[in-house]
């Protein structure tokens, strides 16, 4: 994990420096003289060789200094402070919806295989995967905010502001989880230990949640974790639709201004988050699956 993070940091640093446009000119303004631009370039350390800039960047990073925004002049860490937590809440709430609804739809579809709840569930699932997040978000705004007035159209002022964006963001994963839960549960329901349970006279309300669902969860958890990246990417779009003051929207605003210290820090943070979640999934996978736990 650490070597990958190291390579990722190098890639992000060098590629953000490939973004067209001169950051010193951007800070100095259009009317600044060449001398003024050069002074700012020296202040920002941009006159040094690129490897030197990378070493300075990394040593600052280890001290918690993510650089200074070219647009606002504020430390990047300060800009992240207000936006990081709302984005985290949004991401986890989306995953919560996705797990809750995905498991529910998947379980109902498997239990009522080839009956109307199954068809309805799978139509919902395949539609959810195919629906562009920004379109779903706009439909939800139109119905629940504009027409019914139940939720605000944007912002992150109260818990109500999180409902529509998190539903939008979670829809894709919810659909994926529903499909995986269904196929995994159908496979488990064919297993011998389920037949034994039923033969013992156990009720379906015990067999399904206690025996079958628990054993079907392993692939579902893996998929949920792997799809976490989908949430991070999707949050950029959803936060733009809902004018949500989070990390995703900040990234888009920063790209528009070529605010590369912010872009750099955000990309790095997103990658760390993504790699960490994958690591947690690996650990959870071995915790859920005794075969792997005992083998290791």
């Amino acid at each position: 994990m650490i070597p990958i993070l190291f390579i990722v940091s190098i890639l992000i640093f060098f590629f953000t420096h490939l973004i067209p446009g001169d950051p010193a000119r951007l800070v100095a303004g259009k009317d600044a003289t060449l001398e003024e631009v050069n002074i700012i370039r020296a202040e920002l350390g941009l006159d040094k060789p690129i490897w030197d800039q990378y070493i300075t960047y990394m040593s600052n990073l280890f001290q918690g200094d993510l650089g200074t925004s070219l647009k606002t002049g504020l430390p990047v860490s300060e800009m992240f402070a207000d936006r990081f937590m709302p984005s985290i809440y949004l991401t986890f709430m989306s995953m919560g919806w996705a797990l809750l609804l995905g498991l529910l739809i998947g379980t109902l579809s498997a239990v009522f295989k080839n009956k109307w709840p199954d068809y309805l569930g799978m139509v919902t699932a395949v539609s959810g995967i195919s629906m562009p997040g920004f379109w779903l978000g706009l439909i939800l705004i139109q119905i629940f905010s504009v027409q019914l007035g139940w939720f605000p159209t944007g912002g992150a002022e109260s818990w109500k502001s999180y409902i529509l964006p998190s539903l939008t963001l979670g829809a894709g994963i919810m659909s994926m989880l529903a499909r995986f839960t269904r196929s995994s549960l159908l496979e488990t329901l064919r297993a011998d230990f389920i037949r034994t349970g039923r033969a013992k006279g156990l009720k379906e309300s015990v067999v399904i949640p206690k025996h079958a669902l628990r054993n079907s969860l392993i692939p579902v958890v893996t998929i949920a974790g792997l799809q976490f990246g989908f949430l991070l990417g999707g949050s950029v779009v959803v936060e733009t639709v809902f004018s949500f003051p989070g990390m995703g929207r900040l990234l888009i605003d920063s790209i528009a201004f070529r605010d590369y210290p912010v872009i750099q820090a955000e990309m790095l943070l997103f990658s760390i988050e993504f790699i960490l979640v994958n690591l947690i999934v690996d650990i959870m996978y071995s915790m859920l699956n005794p075969k792997i736990r005992y083998a290791s």
Partner: protein
């Protein structure tokens, strides 16, 4: 004579018709009702993408300030936008952009991924390690974020969207093909080809690659849906097509300002994206059942 007659009676009748995998495929394909109709829909879309500009009832770029933001009617089947342009005509012309961008991006991504996957799986060793670590690094970025980062570096525009989407597709294809290559290179026919002195290139492309085709076709179909979503997301964020282009994502992006007053401006292009991606996903599902049934539950 009697004995010969008896033997003839038990001789199995060898069918004269030769086994044709293509015919077998179509026979099975027709059984996949939903996927079959979705494939017809895609075929229609491809035809529309080719002839769209010629059959569009209005000029998709021509503004008509006397009929701005009109709802769907006999004259304008999908209504008009903020400049009075016919949305239906823009959707027809836009199909070429949306399908073109995603097809090209997936094709390029698949080409790069297949080549890397074959090399990595076939040769193994340090080449395999380098390619796989490279793909690990690329997997460290969520798909859409990687595309956003690439477009941020290259600048907005459809060409750069194609490059971005194809780059983020490469590692997935490489992983898939590497797995099949590792399996394929252990087969008896590859061993036979090697013993007959076939070159590495011949073994990779003539013997191993055809074996991966089934799962590749399924994956390509699924990736086209993903590519359409990614490309339209980039256009929606203002990083793809320019606002005046009749790209479905760009149309939706501009339309959101009129959500409260003329929701059809948002609904129509969204519906076009949704139905197209849905069709590709359904066809992908169907193809998987026919071509690659072993991955059905994976």
């Amino acid at each position: 004579m009697e004995i010969i007659k008896e033997v003839n009676a038990y001789t199995p009748v060898i069918p004269k018709k030769k086994y044709s995998p293509v015919k077998e495929f179509f026979k099975n394909w027709k059984k996949q009702k939903t996927a079959f109709w979705a494939s017809i829909f895609i075929l229609l879309l491809i035809i529309i993408a080719i002839i769209g500009p010629y059959i569009a009832p209005y000029d998709p770029y021509e503004p008509d300030y006397n009929s701005t933001l009109q709802g769907p009617s006999k004259e304008h089947w999908a209504g008009t936008d903020e400049y009075g342009r016919d949305i239906f005509s823009r959707l027809l012309v836009g199909s070429r952009i949306s399908l073109g961008v995603s097809f090209l991006a997936v094709f390029l991504g698949a080409a790069g991924g297949i080549l890397l996957g074959l090399i990595s799986g076939y040769f193994g060793g340090w080449l395999d390690r380098i390619i796989m670590r490279g793909s690990d690094v690329m997997f460290a970025f969520p798909d859409l974020l990687l595309a956003i980062a690439i477009v941020a570096i290259l600048g907005p525009g459809l060409t750069n969207v194609v490059i971005a989407v194809s780059i983020f597709s490469i590692p997935s294809f490489a992983r898939l093909v590497r797995g099949s290559t590792l399996e394929g290179k252990e087969t008896v026919f590859v061993e036979a080809a090697k013993s007959m002195g076939a070159s590495h290139r011949r073994i990779m492309f003539k013997h191993i690659f055809p074996e991966t085709l089934g799962s590749l076709i399924v994956f390509i179909t699924m990736r086209i849906g993903t590519a359409i979503l990614a490309a339209s997301s980039l256009s929606f964020l203002g990083l793809g097509a320019s606002p005046e282009t009749p790209d479905w994502g760009a149309m939706l992006s501009i339309g959101r300002d009129y959500l409260g007053t003329a929701s059809h401006v948002v609904m129509m292009p969204g519906l076009a994206i949704f139905l197209t991606v849905l069709a590709f996903n359904l066809v992908g599902d169907g193809l998987r059942d026919v071509l690659d049934p072993k991955t059905k539950n994976e």
